[in-house]
Amino acid sequence: MLFKSTYNEFIKIAAKPRSYLGVAAITLIVGLILIAMKLDGRMYISLITGPFEQSLAFEGNVLNGNLIAFIILQMLIIHVPLLIAFVTGDLISGEAAMGTIRMLLTKPISRTKILFSKYIAGCAYTFLILLWLAFMAIVVGKWLFGTGDLMVLKSDGLIVLQQHDIAWRFFYGLLIAFLAMVMIATLSLTLSCFSENSIGPIVSTMGIIILFTIIGTIEVPLFDTIRPYLFTTHMAAWRYLFDEPLQLGDVFFSISILVAHILVLLGIAIYKFNKKDILS
């Protein structure tokens, strides 16, 4: 029953035009970035290598597909949460707004399972969005720019990762990025349980992300204690996999914080959805 319900929920997501906004936005934005980098990528490279260029020359294919993919993923992981919240924030509140939730809850399936079926369908959508992003960034990027070593720019210097040592980093990095986006999907779904319209959860999700990002960025001693436990601090945890040597402790800590947030938010969503009075 759960599988059938999940399948139905996925069909509902696929049938909504807003679901394709995310795909279109990613295609357009990544396409523009690829064109811009093709035309003027050398200037970006000089930002990276500038401090060294007086005495050193960087030879080889510096502007390659791996670097382009890394840049695109860095840029878009910030914007993808909005595209995901557009869909997952609408899962409960959208049905309430349309008045179909009453009909939905008359089915011989528990409210918890209905919620889980929506949640799994939302996660599947998140996965597809991220997969599309990875395809555009990595596959199309390598097709246009070729392959080569990856230069990762960090606050304290430059790391050069050899090309044979990059594929697994992208793979596991995208898995962690998927976990971060699932956390966003969970947040917007939870907020959707509290709302009767779609705009509220979507705007609230983005508002929370922006607020927590500001708290995480401002270097104020007051926030130092809570900063490690904000989910926004760990949304970019996938970048830890592009460090040398690898900081596995940081990776596992970020994964645990994200999983903890997911479990807590799911718990709140289950509680609220089960107790919700259907008035529409």
């Binding site: 960087f58 720019l153 210097g157 050069v160 050899q162 900063r227």
Partner: protein
């Protein structure tokens, strides 16, 4: 009739001898450094073009990377190309700078400074000072092994690329002036980038002393030289 007495004659003779000695000393001072550099340059000119397999190990502050293998192509007087599947970091004043310095003796003054022992080899330290203000080179210090006509160490200061110290170790290709090992020591400025483009924006980095200039080392091992096989100019054309 005026006659010089014996004392005056002896004094004149001594003075003349002294002037002759001084003249020959000065003359030898002027010609020897140039001659040394000419011999070195002539030896370098034996290899009109060459390719060599290199292993580049980088030990620079602010850069972390594994050693890489590459192939370097050089053609006299100033063509240079690196072929590598990996990203290779090489000094800007690398393989063709010495040729540029030595190819025209009328463009500089060479002054012998002293002798030094480097790795149990006695070398002549020669300072090369360009004659023109517009020259990119500010000063070159060359430690030359005059027996083998090779440069053991060089310290080049240019306006565009700063100062670089290069130490050379030779093997079987010494008669072409081609080393088996080159060790470059370069100055690196403080690393500073906008935080927004760094990959670790959440990381708090301890502030370092802004005035501190750091040194880095690049070690290049050279092997499998292929010399004077004829590399066309067009081969170097796609170098940026």
């Amino acid at each position: 009739m005026f006659q010089l007495n014996k004392t005056t004659q002896a004094s004149s003779l001594k003075l003349t001898l002294l002037l002759l000695l001084l003249n020959s000393f000065l003359h030898s001072q002027i010609s020897t450094p140039n001659k040394i550099l000419f011999n070195v340059y002539s030896q370098l000119q034996k290899a009109k073009d060459y390719s060599v397999d290199v292993n580049i190990k980088v030990d620079l502050p602010f850069i972390r990377m594994l050693p890489i293998n590459a192939k370097i192509f050089v053609k006299q007087p100033n063509k240079f190309k690196v072929e590598s599947k990996s990203i290779a970091i090489v000094p800007r004043q690398g393989f063709d700078q010495l040729n540029k310095v030595l190819n025209d003796t009328s463009q500089f003054t060479a002054i012998a400074q002293s002798t030094e022992t480097i790795n149990n080899v006695i070398s002549n330290l020669i300072n090369v000072i360009p004659l023109q203000d517009t020259s990119d080179l500010v000063l070159a210090k060359l430690w030359v092994d005059t027996k083998q006509n090779v440069i053991l160490k060089s310290l080049l200061t240019t306006k565009t690329n700063g100062t670089i110290l290069t130490e050379y170790t030779y093997g079987k290709y010494f008669n072409y002036g081609l080393p088996d090992l080159m060790k470059f020591t370069v100055d690196i400025k403080k690393f500073k980038i906008p935080k927004s483009i760094a990959a670790d924006i959440n990381k708090n980095i301890a502030k370092t002393d802004d005035k501190e200039k750091k040194k880095g080392v690049i070690i290049i091992k050279l092997s499998n030289y292929i010399i004077n096989k004829g590399i066309t100019d067009s081969f170097f054309k796609d170098r940026k």
